[in-house]
């Protein structure tokens, strides 16, 4: 049972989501009827149950955890093909899923009876029994693929099973060897995997060797009903070398399998077990499962972003309306009372819009309570593993932060905690010698500091030893032997990549990720890491991070040697315009776009960076290209106050995800600039709100 009400409601809403997904997947599985179940569905159901198991374990709900574990085993058998999915099994699985859903609420509130748990356990055991009749494995499977022994050893049981299944279906196997630039690894890897998943089944990805340290090489093992040439066409844009992973004997075996219509001895699926199993769950289970577990509604963060965007646009429209209203007022013969009414209501609307935007920001905020509770539990567990004793004090659990920031900073908190328990706190004997209580103390705190939240993790351990830090930094070549460093600079050495204060790498902390990862993560959020310590007494890490954060997809453009970021949501289209297509005189330029005449303005002028020089001359001067006919001016189509506008820039760069950093209370007063983003090379790009800028500069629309 969960005592803490906040945790209880979080557990209930999180588990409800997992159970809903699980039940939906089990329903789809049952509806599929097929002899070969959809592996994606089974995998997804497995993940839901697995997450529920983890979540319940974390909350100390051992009964739910063990039931989820049994459930997980069954789904595992299913995806390994060791349990066939007949109508009866499907019904039992659905019943078990419903039973689990019905039990979770009671277990969390401490009202579930032992018999309920036992009944579900029996049902799961009955399903598991069926999987005893295992499908005999196709021994010729992965063995016949011309992978190296080392690579073959890396295949999991599940992957071997998928190779067998694909072979049976008569698909061909390919290996695609490719290497990605480490910087672009994420995107490249994901793009190729996605293409392969579309065209067939990506069985596994094996690490490959490469001589170039800036590259990461992989071998994708891929099955599809495609010809080698087709696979090459897919892999070619990624620089992948394709080779067919098939021997002639394999092909023969496959053909024989198909000819025999799968009725090859040893390969036939087991006959569907139809022995009647009693429906062991009472009907009351189904009724309880209808009761929602939690009164809250879960909303995708992106939905809130959409709402924020709409509210923002509305407020711009509203500003325009109120300035128009002012003009009408001047021209009208309204009485004093009506004038003041109108002004009053315009002011009130403005205030309410601001409040609306603020409320939407608040919706994204969550308290640190859950993260801190997990962190405290983690510290206790780590200490036990290391044979240390620790008491953890937590304060500031109510501090509210943007959910995205909490998610991103959680790893850093855990990382510093691991360090504190592992390296910071001394073993009990050492503590006694130093005159400290045998039990170590760790404090986890949060407090607000202006627009930032400061999360502190302090231990009363051995502290940081200046001389030792210095010695190691010199040894590692991070500083020169005669370099003078201040105290803080010396402490900060431990944040450098490649710095480790632990002489022995322990199982707990030694995972090859240094504190530099912590600093990078915090820095990317627009925060900073602070370290203070007193040798022999204590160490304190502080992570100062912003409380709110906006991550947007932005397009980077260049104007007058400065770069600017524009939310892609504000861009309708990117086009290139040749000077001949520009109509009208300077200052009243326009272009044709989709059959309409749009005003064309220069971003440079809008930003107040320069006059309205003839566009093509400016560009020609830059390119050193004197032929106006070949000049193409980059133009983005946007809209302000419901009208389309063409905005000329000097160069298009790229689209990327950026963390918008606040400009502080003074910067917020700047219209048309919503924040700034750190770019490589110490550059800063302002994040522009183009519609506001256009309105601000009274650009005719």
């Amino acid at each position: 049972m969960i005592e803490d009400n906040t945790l209880l409601s979080e557990y209930l809403s999180e588990s409800e989501e997992l159970l809903d997904a699980l039940l939906a997947d089990l329903d789809s599985l049952a509806a599929g009827h097929g002899e070969t179940p959809d592996t994606n569905l089974i995998n997804r159901a497995f993940r839901s149950v697995h997450s529920l198991k983890g979540l319940s374990g974390m909350m100390g709900l051992a009964e739910v955890q063990s039931l989820a574990h049994d459930f997980e085993d069954i789904l595992d058998d299913l995806r390994l093909g060791q349990l066939s999915l007949g109508e009866h099994t499907n019904a039992l699985l659905q019943e078990a899923g419903a039973g689990l859903a019905a039990l979770v609420g009671g277990a969390a509130r401490g009202t579930a009876a032992d018999e309920d748990f036992d009944r579900l356990r029996q049902l799961l055991a009955a399903i598991a029994l069926k999987s005893r009749e295992r499908v005999k494995k196709d021994e010729s499977g992965p063995g016949s693929l011309n992978l190296s022994d080392r690579e073959r050893a890396l295949l999991t049981e599940y992957e071997e099973h998928r190779i067998n299944e694909n072979a049976r279906a008569g698909r061909s196997f390919y290996s695609i060897a490719t290497a990605f630039d480490i910087d672009k690894l994420d995107t490249g890897y994901r793009a190729l995997s996605a293409r392969l998943e579309e065209a067939g089944e990506l069985i596994t990805t094996l690490p490959d060797k490469t001589a170039d340290a800036s590259m990461a090489a992989f071998k994708f093992v891929f099955a599809a009903a495609l010809k080698e040439a087709d696979v090459k066409r897919i892999a070619q844009p990624f620089g992948g070398r394709v080779s067919k992973l098939e021997r002639s004997t394999w092909r023969k075996a496959g053909a024989a399998l198909r000819a025999a219509g799968r009725r090859v001895p040893g390969l036939a699926p087991p006959k569907a077990a139809t022995e009647d199993l009693p429906a062991v769950l009472p009907p009351s289970f189904a009724r309880e499962a209808l009761q929602p577990l939690s009164p809250s509604v879960r909303v995708e963060m992106s939905q809130i972003d959409v709402l924020s965007g709409l509210a923002h646009e509305l407020s711009i429209e509203m500003e325009q309306m109120s300035s128009l209203a002012e003009k009408f007022l001047d021209a009208s013969n309204l009485g004093a009372a009506e004038r003041s009414d109108l002004r009053f209501s315009a002011r009130r609307m403005k205030r309410e819009f601001i409040e609306l935007e603020e409320r939407l920001v608040e919706l994204r905020m969550i308290a640190l309570a859950q993260t801190f509770t997990r962190a405290a539990r983690l510290a206790g567990r780590l200490a036990r593993e290391l044979g240390k004793s620790v008491s953890v004090e937590v304060s500031g659990r109510d501090t509210q932060l943007d959910k995205m920031i909490v998610d991103r900073v959680a790893d850093s908190i855990y990382h510093i905690l691991r360090n504190a328990v592992d390296h910071g706190l001394e073993p009990a004997e050492e503590r006694k010698l130093a005159g400290k209580p045998a039990r170590g103390k760790i404090k986890i705190e949060a407090r607000l500091e202006g627009t930032r939240a400061v999360i502190a993790i302090a231990d009363d351990g051995r502290g940081l030893d200046h001389a030792e830090l210095r010695r190691q930094a010199i040894e590692a070549g991070l500083i020169a032997a005669d370099e003078t460093l201040t105290e803080e600079e010396t402490f900060r050495l431990i944040l450098r990549p490649g710095f480790s204060t632990a002489d022995q790498v322990s199982a707990v902390s030694g995972r090859g990720v240094g504190l530099d990862a912590v600093e990078r993560a915090v820095y990317e959020l627009g925060g900073e890491v602070r370290i203070s310590s007193e040798p022999g007494k204590w160490t304190r890490f502080e992570l100062a991070v912003p409380t709110t954060l906006v991550l947007i997809s932005a397009f980077i453009v260049r104007v007058s040697n400065w770069r600017y970021a524009i939310n892609v949501a504000q861009i309708i289209e990117l086009i290139f315009v040749s000077p001949a297509e520009i109509l009208g005189p300077d200052g009243r330029r326009s272009i044709e776009w989709r059959g309409n005449k749009l005003p064309l303005v220069e971003l440079k002028y809008v930003l107040g960076l320069g006059g309205a020089r003839p566009l093509h001359q400016a560009i020609a001067g830059q390119n050193g290209d004197g032929h106006p006919a070949s000049i193409k001016i980059p133009v983005l189509i946007t809209s302000a106050a419901d009208k389309h506008v063409a905005v000329a820039v000097e160069q298009f760069e790229e689209q990327r995800e950026i963390v918008v950093k606040s400009l502080g209370s003074l910067g917020r007063k700047l219209k048309g600039v919503v924040g700034a983003v750190d770019l490589e090379g110490g550059d800063v790009a302002l994040v522009l709100d183009i519609p506001s800028l256009l309105v601000l500069r009274s650009i005719r629309l």
Binding site: L525, G526, K661, S662, L663, L670, G672, V684
Partner: protein, 173 residues
Amino acid sequence: MAKQDTQPNTSSRLGVSGLPMELGMDDLIDGKSDLVSVLSFEVGGEWYSIGVENTEGVVDCPKLTPLPGAPVGVVGLASVRGRMTVVMDLGLSATPEALKQRLILVRGDAQLGLLADRIDGVVGLEPKKVRPVAHGKDKLTRERAKFGWPARSYFKSGTRRVPIIDVERLGEA
């Protein structure tokens, strides 16, 4: 105005030029609560000061990015320690850009930084030496009032009046 007059009274100084201001400023004022500690600096040929408790350190000024529509005095934006800092230049007369290399980080939500040509150090003042600025009485304050002069008090160093920057007013600029 000759430079030599502009040195603050050395006898009352706690710090010295070149002190590593990035750290330990709190230590400097600890236990000396009778004195008001201000950081004095020079920009555009004028001396100014700011309460030490209102600062977060001094750094080399990184590359500045222009801010469209910024009020007078704001010269751009810089990224310092992962935080966007709005950089102000109090200097009225133009000084060569090369001189303005130091940036005093101002504590508070405004995320401000003040450009400085030279940092002199921390000065400890007896409270009675801090005097209110009489608005409009002298040429300097009249001139400054044009763009919301952000000082309400000053102290005397020799014959020179060194204004003490009022951080709240900076944020209103």
